[in-house]
């Protein structure tokens, strides 16, 4: 028999319309076109209207002189020579500073409270429960106002500072402490620190292998601590103590000199940390409860005590449940740091979408930049947490 012509079996050209794959593509292209058109028409309308109202637009303002001052900054900034672009970096760094410290602290506090809530100690468990319920159910803005006033109100004014040991002063302008001045030889100490850190990691890997081979355990924690603290200290003294301190002096109004930690920063940090820790505690509790009770019982049966059980058996399994919601709490903390605007901490929103927006009047550009920045920070945080999650995830065989 000759072969049957394929044309009769294949759908004809007209039936391309009914090909689900092609239809799918067509709809997607259509959707993209519609979205693209909407974005384009919105953008061109905005530009058109800005031009019609003779409102300045474009990003030329970036290099214009700022003309205002900011009190808390990680990079040099002054009214006399800085630009709006530099103001942006001042704000961005302040946001990153409070967000990164807040993430670290809230993780520790959150894990502690989350574990405490499951503790067999009744008082501790109930205290943790009260903490979580109170903190999670009050608006963050309110808590920030509370902390700002709680930090400011009880402290004396700058002329009656509380003197703490080591030339540290506390007043309602913040905590003022000696500012370390690093001599050129201090680099050696920094190098020593990194060497020590590498050595500690190398030792850790070696000791793990030893343990796997021979079962012998080494006091890893102690040796790491000794290396990281000891080596830089030895180098520090060998290099002739290349570190001096700029001590705060009482001025007419304020203490001058020294390193100042501002009350706005402290209030924001406490507010963000305690608030986010409340959520992290619940995430941790959920994660631990998700680990089957049999795991704990099995660990107990093997003779592990409560501490090692938690550390070696429960937490590693709980992490798989914990990490995804933990990521979203980190993102929330970063985004919530924009509430700084209410208590005068110069974060990105306060400096850039506050003062810069107002002085330049370029709302569309400034807000677009700010949104892009938060989006970038969030996506980068997500990326790292996803990588970490992948490493921790259950490896299916």
């Amino acid at each position: 028999m000759t072969t049957i012509p394929t044309e009769t079996r294949q759908p004809g050209k007209a039936s391309l319309l009914y090909d689900p794959k092609i239809r799918g593509y067509a709809y997607q292209i259509l959707l993209l076109a519609v979205v693209g058109f909407l974005v384009w028409s919105a953008a061109s309308n905005a530009i058109e209207n800005l031009r019609a109202q003779k409102i300045a637009s474009g990003f030329g303002f970036w290099h214009n002189a700022a003309g205002f001052d900011v009190n808390q900054k990680l990079i040099p900034f002054s009214a006399s020579g800085s630009t709006y672009g530099q103001a942006f970096y001042v704000g961005l760094l302040n946001t990153l500073l409070v967000a990164s410290i807040g993430i670290v602290l809230s993780t520790f506090l959150g894990f502690f409270v989350g574990v405490a809530r499951l503790s067999s100690n009744w008082v501790l468990a109930k205290l943790a429960m009260i903490y979580v319920e109170v903190i999670r159910n009050l608006p963050l803005l309110l808590q920030l106002f509370f902390w700002y006033n709680a930090v400011l109100k009880p402290l004396p004014d700058a002329r009656n500072s509380i003197a703490l040991p080591g030339s540290i002063f506390l007043n309602n302008r913040g905590l003022i402490m000696p500012n370390p001045q690093f001599g050129p030889a201090f680099q050696a100490v920094v190098v020593a620190f990194f060497l020590a850190a590498f050595a500690a990691i190398a030792f850790y890997i070696w000791s793990k292998r030893q343990q796997e081979r021979t079962g012998k355990q080494y006091p890893n924690g102690l040796i790491t601590l000794g290396l990281i603290l000891g080596l830089p200290l030895i180098v520090y003294f060998l290099a002739g103590q290349p570190l001096s301190f700029d001590l705060p002096q009482q001025g007419r109004f304020n203490l001058t000199g020294g390193l100042q930690i501002y009350p706005e920063f402290v209030a924001l940090l406490i507010g963000l940390t305690t608030y986010t820790a409340g959520f992290i505690a619940e995430v941790v509790r959920a994660g631990i409860l998700a680990v089957s009770k049999g795991q704990t019982e099995a660990a107990n049966a093997l003779g592990l005590r409560a501490g090692p059980t938690l550390k070696l058996v429960v937490i590693p399994q709980a992490m798989r449940v914990i990490i995804p919601p933990l990521t979203s709490n980190y993102l929330n903390l970063t985004k919530n740091s924009s509430l700084a605007v209410a208590i005068g901490y110069p974060d990105l929103v306060q400096v850039f979408t506050g003062t810069v927006l107002n002085q330049t009047g370029q709302a569309v550009e400034v807000v677009a930049i700010t949104m892009a920045v938060y989006l970038t920070i969030s996506l980068v945080t997500s990326l790292f947490m996803n990588i970490y999650n992948k490493r921790m995830a259950l490896v299916e065989r």
């Binding site: 919105a42 003779k54 300045a56 929103v349 979408t353 003062t355 709302a363």
Partner: protein, 341 residues
Amino acid sequence: MNTFLAAALAGAAMAVSVGGAQAQTGGLLATIKSKGVLTCGVGPGLAGFGIPDQAGNWTGLDVDLCRALSAAIFNDPTKIKFIPLSSKDRFTALQSGEVDLLSRTTTWTMSRDTSLGLNFAGVNYYDGQGFMVRKKLGVDSAIKLAGASICTEQGTTTELNVADYFRSNKLKYEVVAFASSVETIAAYESGRCDAYTTDSSGLYAQRLKLAVPADHIVLPDIISKEPLGPVVRHGDDNWFDVVKWTHNAMLNAEELGVTKANLDEMLKSENPEIKRLLGTEGKFGEAIGLTNDWAVRIIKHVGNYGESFERNVGMASQLKIARGLNALWTKGGLQYAAPIR
């Protein structure tokens, strides 16, 4: 947060409404007439300039300008929707069309007048920036504030002037900027700052809010020029004229001695200037899209500039601010209205 909202509104409004308000035939005045309400952007609560009284009615020098406009348009000074705006949000709200005009102690500067797409319709208060400090600090001049912490409000000319002042005098200082005046004054009162700076009229007004106003003094130094006035958007010349001439009418009324009390007598006056102001001669009101008795309505419901000044910020008020620069030009001040003719 407010800025985000306002800016988002601005973006949306600019993007969606092609041409915005000014594209409509008849312009903003016609829109206001058909809506039956004037939307007025005022301060969030500054005694003497714009603050709700115990009964919840907005009062103040800046508010009176809105009331005068409402009176001129509707013959009723109450057809106004007041939108309180912080310094930071005010321009975005005006640009986006959320309010018809701003009347809230806004300093007329070149960049605002040009690159923000706004027009200043006059000066209803000549002000200057000053400082308030605690009496117990023993400071009697701004130049002695070297090293001090100074609280100010964001998005103001104040924030820039204070930087200029300390920079040009080569003094160190610390600025603590807040998003609204309420937070600023609270931080000053809590001792976070040694000094609070804003327009000197604002200092007197804010001092009333402190627990013990007598513990604080306003320093005599004035470090800047702050001509405050009503603001409208670019692109609607008729509405710009209406606001400008409402303000001028109040000034001219004071200059010609026309008050709320003697208005009925004045309507019979033979003085040609008064006749033109009150619309018994000429068609000046119709030329700006109002009725010819527009100024009569303003004076009947609100009074002239001097009456408004005395009632809100002058000797008849809590603030007790002298006329000073705000006296009429005939009395040694700067208030000088173009003639109606």
